[in-house]
């Protein structure tokens, strides 16, 4: 596993750059990751990211977009507005989690 340094944080990542060590993440790291992909974090962004972190801790897998909407309570439309184009992957990236595996 490569490591990379982003904004002074040294983290383990996979070949694409998604974090591989859950506990290396902090909200500070998340903010730096978001900046890397051009996202300026607001409270609404954080609500989604915190849901992802908690859901991963509970279930051991990254929630799909549908789960963030149905269980996390954030409408799909908002997710596309907050994390444009590829919301599921972008959220996973900022939350320091693997890409979601589910098809839907």
């Amino acid at each position: 596993m490569p490591t990379t340094t982003i904004d002074g944080h040294q983290i383990h990542v996979d070949d694409e750059g998604f974090m591989t060590a859950y506990h290396e993440w902090s909200e500070d790291v998340g903010k730096s990751l978001a900046t890397q992909i051009g996202i300026d974090m607001t409270d609404e962004h954080w609500t989604a990211i915190r849901f992802l972190r908690q859901d991963f801790a509970d279930r051991g897998e990254t929630p799909t977009l549908r789960r963030v909407t149905v269980v996390g309570g954030i409408p799909t439309k908002r997710l596309f507005a907050l994390f444009p184009q590829k919301p599921a992957k972008k959220m996973a990236y900022i939350a320091g989690l693997p890409k979601p595996q589910g098809c839907v």
Partner: protein, 169 residues
């Protein structure tokens, strides 16, 4: 095994417009044939691909308010179920096979058809109904799922999906 890269490793999300477009033609009205088109549409939208679905012939069942929540699956004529074909025609078998399939789909947290269409629209997908199918079945926009953008001809659909990759289900 750790190697430290000098430049930060950041995924490429291709945020600039790639112009990729996908056109999906849904022509079947059974439960098992409705899902593939919707799943591909949903996946494409999640990747930032502009996606248009065209519902035609039996695919109208997917957007007809009366039938969209009640699509069925039959093992008849489908050797992949590995059931004796004669059984498929027995009373109640379609109902049983449909309930089983719906249950299996729900267990994967995959939405039912009306919810799935809602999710596709919320993700920016476009739904279109086929003019000829509407005329054949004497249906108007009032009979169709509210988010269907219009009843259009095949030629209109081909025109508006210029340059798109095309998937026929």
């Amino acid at each position: 095994m750790t190697d430290t890269a000098t430049a930060p490793i950041v995924p490429s999300f291709d945020t600039e417009e790639t112009g990729r477009k996908l056109a999906i033609i849904c022509s079947k009205g059974s439960l098992d044939m409705a899902y593939p088109g919707l799943i591909m549409a949903n996946a494409a939208l999640g990747e930032g691909v502009e996606t248009h679905l065209f519902f035609t012939f039996w695919g109208f069942e997917i957007i007809n308010k009366k039938t969209m929540g009640d699509l069925k699956f039959t093992p008849l004529g489908n050797p992949a179920t590995h059931m004796p074909q004669g059984m498929g025609g027995l009373p109640g078998v379609t109902h049983m096979a449909t309930s089983r399939m719906k249950k299996a789909i729900a267990e994967l947290d995959v939405p039912d058809i009306p919810d799935f269409l809602e999710q596709i629209v919320a993700s920016g997908g476009h739904l279109w109904a086929c003019r000829m199918s509407a005329d054949m079945n004497h249906l108007t926009e009032a009979d169709l799922y509210d988010e269907v953008e219009g009843i259009i001809s095949a030629a209109d659909f081909i025109e508006l999906t210029e340059g798109a990759q095309l998937l026929f289900v």
